[in-house]
Symmetry: C2
Subunit: 215 residues, 2 copies
């Protein structure tokens, strides 16, 4: 229905302010449609056609911008992450604060992650994509490389800074240590073994930070 | 093909030694077929008919013993776990040893878990079932209740014993603490973020046990 409003009729080079705004609107509508659809029907049954119909754009608009369903979805998730970072008031490149208090900083981040995992708008599509990555190694690798590793690097940076500040033992490997925080959270989220609460996030941080600190 | 050899023609009460042996053989063949199939084609495309054909039994044999595909698979996994426990030389009810050295005992168990996760015969079906549980809350709940929680309880028991022995602080909750071990392992396994090695398992145990211990 919004076909005429979208930038379908423009060439990609016609970057007038109006067409840029319309492209941006279409892109956002496509992201939202892709995330909603994959959350509702799962990865396998999400199609480019379905995303286009829901976004109110022609499917050629999607094919022009992305080579595959996996590409649209991964980009939609990257965008979701950027928006979540902005909503937290942080700049997207450094979402883990460094106040000098490692435990307090990690509690803040893990509590925000808990809130995100409990948010149906994040939970449903993320769960669908994660499940598909579990059984599809190629998609899983893209998921890890494009979505997960950039987040994990923020933990590596924060833990490395804490190590330099003497709050983490010199022999601790930050790439392993970060998994003491994200591993349990993800385990509880994906397998739904027990409720994800702020108190749980706090306990994880207390137990693990103590294990990393010098005596 | 093995239809005539299976116990199909017997009533369930005819427990002569021969029919019991044949039933046991059919049951094992059905478990093996179910695990192989779900690992190859995924949960959604695994059918009772497919399992029956691969096991060489009539599908009525399966319907007589199990109400659904999920039930066959969950039982096959329980059986796989029991056999893995036996192969480790332990008795199935207490796979975590208690030598008095918490760190050594957990390293042993986590290394064995790493080996299991790296074994294609375990990896493929477990991954398929876990992925389905991620997006199917009802199956996920059965998976957790029947397969995962009994394993987690072994950690609760071992950590509680360590707490009583003064090796874990009194205020530590064993049900949360165990996630410092199983969470990261499962995260690495399901998302394939990095190789699962014994050295990795050892580091996890060293970091986490230190966080649980009194100073």
């Amino acid at each position: 229905m919004a076909e005429t409003k979208a930038s379908d009729s423009k060439t990609p080079d016609s970057k007038t302010p109006d067409s840029t705004r319309r492209s941006e609107r279409s892109r956002r509508a496509i992201y939202d449609a892709a995330l909603a659809l994959v959350g509702e029907v799962g990865y396998a049954r999400t199609t480019i056609e379905g995303i286009a119909a829901r976004a109110g754009v022609g499917k050629q608009t999607i094919y022009r911008w992305w080579p595959s369903k996996a590409s649209v979805l991964l980009e939609a998730f990257v965008d979701l992450g950027v928006r979540a970072g902005e909503a937290l008031g942080g700049d997207a490149d450094s979402v883990i604060p460094d106040t000098g208090d490692l435990e307090a900083d990690l509690k803040l981040v893990l509590r925000a992650t808990v809130d995100e995992m409990n948010d149906p708008g994040y939970d449903a599509p993320s769960r669908a994509l994660a499940a598909e990555g579990v059984v599809d190694p190629e998609l899983g690798a893209r998921f890890v490389e494009q979505l997960l590793e950039p987040q994990l690097r923020l933990y590596v940076d924060r833990l490395s800074a804490a190590r330099e500040a003497g709050q983490v033992r010199p022999e601790v490997d930050p790439r392993i240590a970060l998994e003491l925080f994200v591993g349990p959270l993800t385990h509880r989220w994906l397998l739904r073994t027990a409720p994800l609460t702020h108190a749980y996030a706090d306990s994880l941080v207390e137990y693990a930070v103590r294990g990393l600190a010098p005596r």
